[in-house]
Symmetry: C2
Subunit: 233 residues, 2 copies
């Protein structure tokens, strides 16, 4: 765990934002759910979609392990790797036109215009994130931390710690914005405050279990209430 400097946490004018990507800024979680369920069934596992849904947001490796464990199968590294490949294939097949979540582009542009540092930290691989980054008009200078750049993905805090480091901000000065319990639990382990969004289909009542600082519907709703998280234009 990094050392925190409590006296200066989240002081006005110092706040940074670390965003999850899938389900937080782009609307693709339901496709991920069906792709994981299908991948699992190919290797002989059966889990209903709602249980798969609750694992989305974890690293692919952890999710694979959790899904296989839930089906009562013993795990081999080869199985976990195959499951991730199968998920990638099924996801590519299911993928419809990629959509930003409401207000995603506007929120990011507002933070840039206001001089608030922000970064993206995704449990996915960089190449898989690329279409979303283009859709969201993410400027080249914004740090993108993807799966390859951390030893452990969410709910470990590594991805978010790396994103704060890339911005050269203290993690305690950052809000972590995500749609899954795993984002919000990673925020707590990182020593940052979490902000939950509903775009991944996990309801506010369920996200509340990870005790985020605030919960908003989507990036547009967060932008409308941006003064609640200490940003002043």
């Amino acid at each position: 765990m990094p050392s925190l400097s409590p006296s200066q946490h989240l002081a006005s004018g110092r706040t940074a934002f670390l965003f999850d990507l899938d389900g937080t800024l782009v609307d693709n979680v339901y496709e991920h759910v069906l792709a994981w369920r299908e991948a699992l069934s190919v290797i002989g596992g059966e889990l209903p979609a709602w249980r798969v849904h609750r694992g989305i947001g974890m690293s692919g490796g952890l999710l694979s392990a959790e899904l296989l464990r839930a089906t009562g199968q013993a795990l081999t590294d080869a199985q976990i790797e195959r499951l991730q490949d199968l998920h990638g294939e099924a996801f590519a097949r299911l993928r419809d036109r990629l959509r930003p979540l409401p207000g995603a582009r506007e929120l990011l542009a507002y933070l840039s215009d206001t001089g608030v540092p922000w970064a993206i930290a995704t449990s996915g691989r960089r190449e898989n994130a690329q279409p979303a980054l283009e859709l969201l008009d993410v400027p080249d200078h914004v740090p993108i931390v993807s799966r390859e750049q951390a030893a452990h993905a969410k709910p470990d805090p590594d991805l978010f710690l790396a994103a704060a480091e890339a911005l050269d901000v203290a993690i305690g000065d950052a809000f972590i914005v995500g749609d899954s319990l795993w984002d919000l639990l990673a925020a707590r382990r990182a020593g940052a405050l979490g902000i939950g969004l509903l775009g991944g289909g996990i309801a506010a009542d369920e996200l509340q279990r990870a005790c985020p600082y605030r919960i908003y519907d989507d990036p547009a709703d967060l932008l409308r209430h941006i003064d609640q998280v200490g940003i002043r234009a």
Copy 2:
């Protein structure tokens, strides 16, 4: 509303079960979510998947109206009809192998073996329900009430009232089992106790808002706790 006879409600030996189908007994809600989102986008509306998800379980007509209203579009009957057709096409394309939810077949067989009357009441059309009924080995004598047989679908109580009538049981003697808020709200309007299941991806915390009698993970979990709802083998 039918008149109730409170003194005999849910007395041991009189209980009946009225089941919703999609998301309660079979695992197909996530496909419905993506199909509705796609249908809506074809006619120029955009709603994120998580918002569409919260409308699943309503009648197709009500859901169409709600989705269109949420996108700020004026509604015409022709648009609502077209949206339902588009949903049907997208759903057929997305539909993977149909899976029962865990314990669905076993629960229905147990009720039949124990002599507990049960029926199915679905907001969908009869022809759309047929594959699920075959998958679940539903015997021919079990009443199936589908959209065509009621003036109003959920959250109106009509479908469940018709199912109770088909079983010749008082609605107050029935448990209504469903995965959506709309099932559980229809149960309250019908004057029956609701049982929530999680197979549609709406979490227990969220279902709780409709105040069901009990919530279980899936039909297997309900079967393991069947004595909690007054069934004795």
